[in-house]
Subunit: 273 residues, 2 copies
């Protein structure tokens, strides 16, 4: 059980109704220690100022979500994706985020094998700029149900393999229990990820039965069937000592009073994570 909050981080998308300012203030007031900011929350704002507000509130800026979405069937779109990732690096540097999480992308009109090559090429294209700005990048393997349009990287093995192929200390992996809990090789690949210094961040939530929506039907920890404490144990055995990041896409929870939801997140974190 995660009995203290020193490693608890919440994603701004988890409390989607709140602006980044509300999120910062409310997370800090609730005793949450880390925040991961989604880029939409920076629209119309100065990322430097948001970063200052986060630090002033005593929160750790854990990561910026998200870069990626590299594959496309035409070169113009692939170049636009690289430009967008360069902007994400600018934003990460400005807000003070040490890490950008990559949802690598996929497109129904690009074969998976080709999409995977485009992802690697996209990462390699932006890595020097990330290095110059002191920002790391993490490949987040996504659940296979997103292989058509969100990510062609669908297992931790694939993410580990791609990091090894790229071979830079700036590229690693985000392990998210929602995407990976079903994988029979998960324990092995988490150990391999840690042993190679690739385990950059860790996301938690739960899988509901039934899952009514492929995107926004996630559960709070303890509401579903993912063995979160077991997976967290594997992650910690692999040497991870960073934040446990609560990332929940849930129409049901977004419709609630977000103060009550934060209260429930903290309880669920302590009892079911």
């Amino acid at each position: 059980m995660a009995d203290d909050l020193s490693r608890l981080c919440v994603h701004t998308i988890t409390t989607r109704p709140w602006s980044v300012e509300e999120a910062v203030d409310q997370y800090a007031a609730a005793g949450i220690k880390g925040i991961t900011v989604w880029r939409q929350w920076l629209e119309g704002r100065d990322a430097n100022e948001v970063g200052e507000r986060i630090r002033s509130a005593g929160l750790t800026m854990v990561s910026l979500c998200r870069g990626g979405f590299f594959p496309a069937s035409d070169l113009t779109a692939r170049r636009a994706a690289i430009d967008d990732n360069l902007r994400a690096i600018d934003e990460a540097a400005a807000i003070g985020a040490p890490l950008i999480v990559l949802v690598c992308g996929a497109s129904p009109d690009v074969p998976l094998s080709e999409a995977r090559k485009q992802i690697q090429a996209g990462i390699e294209a932006v890595l020097p700029y990330a290095a110059a700005n002191g920002v790391k990048l993490a490949i987040e393997p996504l659940h296979p149900m997103y292989a058509d349009s969100r990510s062609a990287i669908n297992t931790l093995k694939q993410a580990n393999d791609m990091c090894m192929a790229i071979g830079s200390s700036l590229i690693g992996v985000t392990v998210d229990v929602y995407h990976l809990w079903w994988d029979p090789d998960l324990a092995f690949e988490i150990a391999r990820c840690g042993a190679n210094g690739l385990l950059f961040s860790f996301h938690i939530c739960d899988w509901l039965t039934p899952t009514a929506d492929l995107l926004n039907g996630r559960g709070l920890m303890g509401e579903g069937c993912i063995p979160i404490p077991q997976i967290r144990g594997w992650v910690e055995d692999a040497g991870y000592s960073g934040f446990n990041e609560v990332e929940i896409f849930s129409d049901r929870h977004w419709a609630r009073d977000q103060h009550e939801f934060i209260h429930d997140i903290i309880n669920a974190y302590q009892e079911h994570s």
Copy 2:
């Protein structure tokens, strides 16, 4: 391209509005050569008579769907599952089906590793009765999005491994493009499946973008992003020469005139499979 219909099979659930009698008559009239019967279509009927009707219509009885659902948190439920699989074997023998497809089962309150043991134990418990009745069993690995409640076997590698562990000529695998298309190891595992004599049947449909429903949001071949001809090529290179079975769960297509749908299935089979 599958330019003739000699290996085209349709599942009764694909044309859900039709009774088994309507399905048999309409499939035969349309030039379809094989049928896979779902057990719900036998309710209130004599399976022997349905089998005779199928043979009289000139259709090949390809398989019975579905057995399985072995895992449960209590022994009573696990014994009930075994009983149900024995009944499925009786039904297969009566209707003249050489094969039962297993949706192996999963339960949100049973850890996946335990569920996998229960699946293997369940298959081994019913295998002698299958042998005595001349019926084979096929493990159908299901998409990881069903790992909570439908199957703890989610990759072809797992299905192949379990067949090898059981070690009987009566247990093999059903390859379904919907469940497996995303798997980076798919070509390798299909080859391995064939090389070990485990490739018992092959199901086709398509993955839609977006997929609005986890269960009944499948597409007709060509409507989605699955490279069906490529996967069929791997399957045939692995020595498979059986039926290509069209299994589509689709609220959208079920709401249509089923004669028109059958017409579209045949066109899609010839153009996109």
